[in-house]
Symmetry: none
Subunit: 196 residues, 4 copies
Amino acid sequence: MGEKSIQKRKYILDTARKVFVEKGFKKVTMKDIVEACDISRGGLYLYFENTSQIFQEVLKLETQQDDDLFSDSIKEDSTAADILLVFLKEQKNELLRKNDTLTQAIYEYYFENQALPKKENRLKKQFDSAVMIIERLIEIGVENGEFYCEDPAGCARNIMFVLEGLKICAQTIGVTPEMVDQEIAYIFKNLGVEEV
Amino acid sequence: MGEKSIQKRKYILDTARKVFVEKGFKKVTMKDIVEACDISRGGLYLYFENTSQIFQEVLKLETQQDDDLFSDSIKEDSTAADILLVFLKEQKNELLRKNDTLTQAIYEYYFENQALPKKENRLKKQFDSAVMIIERLIEIGVENGEFYCEDPAGCARNIMFVLEGLKICAQTIGVTPEMVDQEIAYIFKNLGVEEV
Amino acid sequence: MGEKSIQKRKYILDTARKVFVEKGFKKVTMKDIVEACDISRGGLYLYFENTSQIFQEVLKLETQQDDDLFSDSIKEDSTAADILLVFLKEQKNELLRKNDTLTQAIYEYYFENQALPKKENRLKKQFDSAVMIIERLIEIGVENGEFYCEDPAGCARNIMFVLEGLKICAQTIGVTPEMVDQEIAYIFKNLGVEEV
Amino acid sequence: MGEKSIQKRKYILDTARKVFVEKGFKKVTMKDIVEACDISRGGLYLYFENTSQIFQEVLKLETQQDDDLFSDSIKEDSTAADILLVFLKEQKNELLRKNDTLTQAIYEYYFENQALPKKENRLKKQFDSAVMIIERLIEIGVENGEFYCEDPAGCARNIMFVLEGLKICAQTIGVTPEMVDQEIAYIFKNLGVEEV
DNA sequence: CATGAATGAGAGTTCATTCAT
DNA sequence: GATGAATGAACTCTCATTCAT
């Protein structure tokens, strides 16, 4: 596959992403993507076999970019509380951004593919690694005297479940920025930080 | 609609429920339901127009039954902590019961219908009313000296978000009974109750 | 399936037969048959799943009718030589009737399905039963003094292979009535009958 | 067309032959051949226009090689009966060799192209020339006193039809070596040769 | 010569929906 | 009310054929 094909592949994935953002995962057809990309019916099949494969590739790209963003916020020289706050604010922005999010599609995809061997369940890997990072962050904060927390691991897990809860609520019953802020404040209060 | 029709209507909804449990919402076709019910294709249309309508009716029945169950656990004469614990245990059982749950279907349905006028978003109504009940429960507990909590409303919301987070995770990345227990313990610890 | 459906089923098979006569087996598509029948795309699938199934059903009908024809020629009160001659003349007519014959389609079908369990290879059953009937006929002829033949079974098989040879040649390199007559004469000469 | 092209052409035809052996004629696509040859899609079109043309060329090569083989068996210095026997044994081997034979493909091809101007129907030419050779062989045998036969031409035609019958049966209903041997014995018996 | 990306026609199949009975 | 045959739109997937490089 030449340089050109790689570009086209990328183009298809970027365009397909928009389709998934708009329609979720289950409702998307190869035809939807063909039309969004404005390519020929057969053309798409030169690159991908079905919507599942396309979605997985979209997720791969997505994760890579997420990793980049993540390292950005970490490389700053700041306190644990600052870093945690930045992380939570990022999550807030993400989950309030209803119309440019793969969230629904991802949930729909994993509704069907939840049983995947653990190594292949990208969602689980992300969840677990986020828990570990947050846990480490809390430990550092505790050492620095920023936080008070007897069970950093439990707290980290709790934070992630709250975030997941906010995310799914944002997609189903709606969530306001204030509601998210309240949850963030609640998290910090549990860590012994009154003012955010 | 005669007596007979009402029975048939009920029969269709009960059968359709099983289909939604099995396949979620988006993938279910009228044909799926016709076949599950073993009625004629045209027959289904005498009762319902499309899968969306059927699903809404299924949800109505579901909610009625939930309300019944809910009142059960409340009418007992117990402490606030007991009631809260019973409620959380019920939620635990529900969310671990992967194969007899409308959860996926409900999420898929509200992914599409989130924008509904608030009055019609059953999920939101349920969420809000659960928050209020929990809040009241916490207030009672605080009055009784069972709990310590400065912000019962915030705490109630937080509990619901954790539950939603557990629910969605149960459907996508998998959740163990232990993980749920840890979250329940965490909730109680935040209320000043160490042992559950 | 009601009375009406049975008629339509029959209609489809009769029409499909014409298509198979015209195009053989492998080239025939569901679309070909839909168009020949002038029914809707989905309509055909109410009755049959694929061209293979349709062809098998066509063959069933065909065989039933053949059986009828066959008994006709037997029920006459004639000599063995007469009966054999009638049979061979029928075969002659059949194999020269290039444009109303399933022969090509049958061969193409069994090219693909030769490996079928013996019970399901209709062609083989027909071949074997024809051999047995001819064998019996020759034995009767020998008893009557009409034929001279030391190995009726071998002769019967030989006759069938000659007929098969004529049939396939008729479909590939062409065969004239005279050529068939010559073979018929040759068969009778081997049975000790000079004039036919 | 340069030396190199001639080699490639030959390579394509040899590879295509295998495809035809495997799938017959009608089902073979240009894509099948491209993939078997592991050349580019456009590349194939530089040499051939469609599967029909390729098949004709494959047949040409085939016939040349057959001629060679044929002359082999003839150049031996043997009796007519010997030569005939060798020929029939060769045919036997050929027709029992189900998995390396173009037979099906050839039949399928001529089902469609039977109407070709006689000069171009290679199959017919081969059939007629085989008849002539066998006829001549029988005449020689008769002169030598090896055979008894009043109608060498009729007998030769009969032999060829039997062979064609065996060939098509081998491809459709299955034929055992014993069955072929019986037919060969039957042929010789008709020529007055009891033991083969 | 050779490549392989691209196109678009066409086959298979499924379903929502209608309607005569 | 109830049936289920019928229709046609929509989707998936494959291939012959072309063409810029």
